[in-house]
């Protein structure tokens, strides 16, 4: 906004259009640089490690993208995956959000057709940085609609570097949020644009952008609840206009249809409570529109009569409809909401009812330091931005305020949703910083123009005029912007402005300019730039050190250099080279995606966690003694069991640390697994004070088998920091086939059943074991 101000002091059209053009070109180049910045700050992991896919979920997306590029889109839509959730399989076409994979697949296809031979993996790794550049540009567009170009550029540069967004979109983090955040911001931009212009064309584009958002992420419900809330807010605060109707009503109809088109959502678009808010507000806006229309064509007296009539009849009808709706909704036990949405609304819901959702580390509430780590300087610029949005309050700024408030609430529930807070915080902070810069530079400009007036003391009559005109521009910058907005298509803009200037000159000669003393403004400008510097330093540090770990390769610095722990890929490579193609591998669900993608073997459970009972079966098997565990795995046709163990090197995210969740989830479905059996006095231990159930469990045995051989008999576990309880034991039903270099992944094979059973007692027991069903329904506990 610093650019158009100068037009008023230089009323010649040529120089003002030149300044406009110069400003636009400068803005364009700044945006280009912001895009490059957003892309390059996310490349630390590629530089430090290699161009590899990170974490767990991205491996699934990568595998799906590989399938798409190899087999085409029709096979992708109809794909039934039998390499996972054995023996149930998974309907990939109907349970995956296709936006990300289709985007990457399209990019790959386009590049192939241009004869640029990038591999699918490269395209997948670099999708996230490219889309974060797009997201920064979308933030610029959105903030420009709210406050102007200067605020837009500031918000864009803040979003390019905000650590919370970097954490989910580094190169290699090929996950839904990589494209979903761009879709979110772009949808909001188009909504605000439609609200500001009232154009049906933008309403159509808004619906299409919303469709892209639905394709990309389950968080689309945030949009379809936030926009109705904003419409309701506008209606309630008396800001209803026909542009609001054009912005909202087509979005609901087209948006619901487009959402129903995506197989994952399907009929949930009209039947779940997450969408009911939009339908409710759809009805409300029609009622309000009708009321305004009738008010417009009737005389006021008649309107009063109409109002009383309608209210008396309408209240009865409303009550009937609401009663029916409440009855329908209350008949379902979760009131029509899905488990994930309920856990957002009631933060304690998941820990009470759905332990799987509660066990995911991203679903925990964030701690206070994580707000500062992820947002840094923005955390205290946001309130300043809120105040700046209130002066003046428009539809667009009320929307941004509502977006911020809602996202702050949801980010407090789940640390993963800080990602949704990041764009809102950047927009607010961009507005605040831009307003602050405006005040400071205005003061400096006023001071400089005053200086130049005092220096040229020639024409006396020009003096008061010149003294007054900087006062005008100083005082009512916003008013000029408003008058400019209200006459958007006037051809003789200059003439109007000069006509306006004259009455302003007359009325504002006595008012003092709202400027700061120049020394204060210089100092404040310097401090603000320093603030920006701190932010940049922190963001680069966070991107380089905290958020660039691929978590499939670990490193540690020691006195003799850099140690690289590549155990995971070592284990998956061993599996893919040394086992049959149809062998089934059982592990905890964290490693399912990686196993299918890298080892190319069928797994029992994976990160999709759609079947709680199946996961509970695996959990029970891991918690049971060796024989019972073998029986469960044998009934699932499992050949190999994979266990992650960090005790030798001090890797804290291993299966023994996750073991209590296995017990809880298994115990949730099979009641003979009781968590207190594994705890001594409420404490989780694996040393000599551990309970016998714990020491006999399959997970303990598979983790610590032959562990004492590593440090000469002590068996000191570096993660739990104690010596282990049971040191010397043999495995009767499993045999160890592979342990990686740092003992981080251990693979065991199920021993086949013995052909010959010696002894009569053993024979009777072996007769019962094939006939008993899976150990979940075994009545007696044969190990106590």
């Amino acid at each position: 906004m610093a650019v158009p101000v100068d037009n008023l002091t230089k009323p010649t059209p040529a120089s003002s259009t030149l300044r406009f053009a110069f400003g636009n070109v400068l803005a364009f180049f700044i945006l280009l640089l912001i895009g490059v910045l957003a892309f390059s700050i996310r490349l630390f992991s590629v530089i430090k490690y290699e161009s590899v896919i990170h974490e767990f979920d991205p491996y699934f997306n990568y595998r799906v993208t590989q399938f798409l590029t190899k087999n085409g889109i029709y096979d992708f839509w109809n794909w039934f995956d039998d390499r996972t959730w054995y023996p149930l399989g998974r309907v990939i076409g109907g349970t995956v959000y296709p936006g990300l994979t289709l985007t990457a697949g399209t990019i790959w296809k386009v590049l192939q057709s241009l004869n640029i031979p990038l591999s699918v993996e490269t395209v997948c790794v670099f999708t996230a940085p490219v889309f974060s550049a797009f997201a920064a540009w979308a933030t610029y567009l959105l903030t420009k609609e709210v406050k102007g170009t200067g605020a837009g550029l500031t918000a864009a540069v803040l979003l390019a570097m905000v650590p919370s967004y970097i954490s989910r979109s580094v190169a290699g983090s090929y996950d839904n949020e990589a494209v979903a955040i761009f879709a979110l911001i772009f949808t909001f931009y188009l909504y605000i644009k439609t609200l500001n212009t009232g154009s049906l064309f933008y309403a159509t584009l808004n619906s299409i952008a919303y469709f892209y958002m639905v394709c990309s992420w389950g968080g689309y419900t945030f949009i379809i609840n936030l926009i109705p809330m904003h419409v309701l807010l506008c209606i309630v605060t008396g800001r209803y206009s026909s542009r609001l109707y054009i912005a909202y009503a087509p979005l609901v109809v087209l948006g619901t249809l487009l959402a129903a088109l995506v197989p994952v959502v399907g009929f949930n678009a009209v039947m779940t409570s997450e969408h009911f808010a939009s339908f409710l507000v759809f009805i409300v806006i029609h009622v309000v529109a009708l009321a305004y229309y009738i008010k417009g064509i009737l005389s006021p007296k008649m309107f009063k009569v109409a109002a009383t009539l309608v209210v008396s009849v309408g209240v009865v009808v409303c009550c009937a409809v609401v009663a029916v709706l409440v009855a329908v909704v209350a008949s379902s036990p979760t009131k029509g909401w899905s488990g994930r949405s309920l856990s957002l609304l009631d933060p304690t819901y998941a820990s009470k009812y759905i332990p799987i959702i509660a066990s995911v580390s991203e679903h925990q509430p964030p701690t206070w330091p994580s707000y500062f780590m992820d947002l840094n300087v923005l955390a205290f610029l946001v309130p300043a931005g809120i105040i700046a949005c209130f002066a003046p309050l428009s539809d667009a700024s009320s929307f941004v305020i509502l977006y911020l408030v809602m996202s702050v609430y949801f980010s407090g529930v789940m640390v993963r949703l800080m990602l949704v807070l990041a764009p809102a915080a950047c927009i607010m902070s961009g507005i605040a910083l831009s307003e602050a810069f405006d005040v400071f530079t205005r003061s400096i400009k006023f001071y400089i123009s005053n200086l130049s007036e005092f220096l040229q003391t020639d024409a006396g009559d020009t003096l008061p005029g010149n003294n007054v005109s900087p006062q005008n521009e100083v005082l009512k910058n916003e008013k000029k912007e408003d008058t400019l907005k209200e006459r958007p298509s006037r051809k003789n803009k200059k003439k109007e402005k000069e006509n306006i200037e004259k009455p302003y000159v007359k009325s504002k000669t006595e008012k003092r300019p709202l400027v700061l003393p120049v020394e204060a403004s210089f100092f404040a400008l310097f401090l603000t730039v320093l603030l920006g510097g701190f932010y940049v330093v922190h963001s680069v540090w966070a991107a380089a050190e905290a958020y660039s770990a691929p978590s499939i390769v670990l490193t540690s610095h020691s006195h003799d250099g850099l140690h690289v722990f590549d155990d995971f890929r070592e284990a998956y490579a061993w599996l893919s080279h040394n086992t049959e193609v149809d062998d089934k591998v059982a592990s905890w669900w964290d490693y399912g995606y990686q196993t299918t993608a890298m080892a190319n073997r069928t797994v029992i459970v994976d990160n999709n966690t759609w079947n709680n009972t199946h996961i509970a079966t695996v959990g029970t098997a891991m918690s049971s003694p060796e024989k019972a565990g073998w029986e469960i795995f044998n009934s699932l046709d499992v050949k190999y069991v994979l266990v992650v163990f960090g005790g030798l090197v001090g890797y804290p995210s291993d299966d023994i640390n996750k073991f209590l969740w296995m017990v809880r989830i298994g115990g949730g479905v099979f009641p003979h697994i009781k968590e207190p059996d594994y705890l001594r006095d409420g404490q989780y231990r694996i040393d000599s004070q551990a309970t016998p159930t714990m020491l006999n469990s399959l997970m303990y045995k598979l983790s610590y088998f032959r562990f004492v051989e590593t440090d000469g008999g002590k068996g000191y576990d570096r993660v739990r920091r104690t010596e282990i309880g049971k040191k010397y034991f043999k495995l009767t039903h499993f045999e160890e086939v592979f342990t990686t270099h740092h003992w981080m992944v251990r693979i065991y094979k199920l021993k086949p059943q013995k052909n010959r059973i010696r002894g009569k007692t053993k024979k009777s027991k072996s007769k019962t074991s094939p006939t008993t069903p899976r150990s979940g329904t075994v009545k007696k506990n044969p190990w106590h």
């Binding site: 049906l200 109707y245 009503a249 109809v253 129903a260 009209v270 064509i297 009569v305 008396s312």
Partner: protein, 117 residues
């Protein structure tokens, strides 16, 4: 609900004034209003049919009803933009509004045809 005579007179006066005010609207707006009423009527017929026959296949029912509601909504948007009394859209030529209307309808019906099944 017993209506007192004054309320009934009021209702009649209201009805008359509504009628007279509405007849003052230009013809092109009345045509659009007629189209909206027609679309809503067709949607209601479809809902009644679904209540009688059952909702299988649900996607066809949804696409049918939502296409009617959608064209009604878009026609209302067109009416808003074409109405000469609306000061916000003074600068929008009616051909532009109609072109937007056609485009939006095209997208809507493309989606409908895909969803119809």
């Amino acid at each position: 609900m017993g209506k007192s005579p004054t309320t009934k007179d009021d209702a009649q006066a209201l009805f008359h004034s509504l009628r007279s005010a509405y007849s003052a609207t230009p013809t092109n707006l009345k045509i659009i209003d007629l189209y909206v009423v027609f679309a809503v009527f067709i949607a209601l017929i479809q809902v009644v049919y679904m209540a009688v026959v059952g909702s299988f296949p649900f996607n066809s029912f949804l696409s049918g009803v939502l296409s009617c509601v959608g064209t009604a909504v878009l026609a209302v948007c067109l009416r808003i933009q074409v109405n000469k009394e609306n000061k916000e859209f003074k600068d929008l030529p009616p051909e532009h509004a109609f072109a937007d209307f056609v485009l939006c309808n095209l997208v809507l019906h493309l989606v409908i045809m895909n969803f119809l099944g």
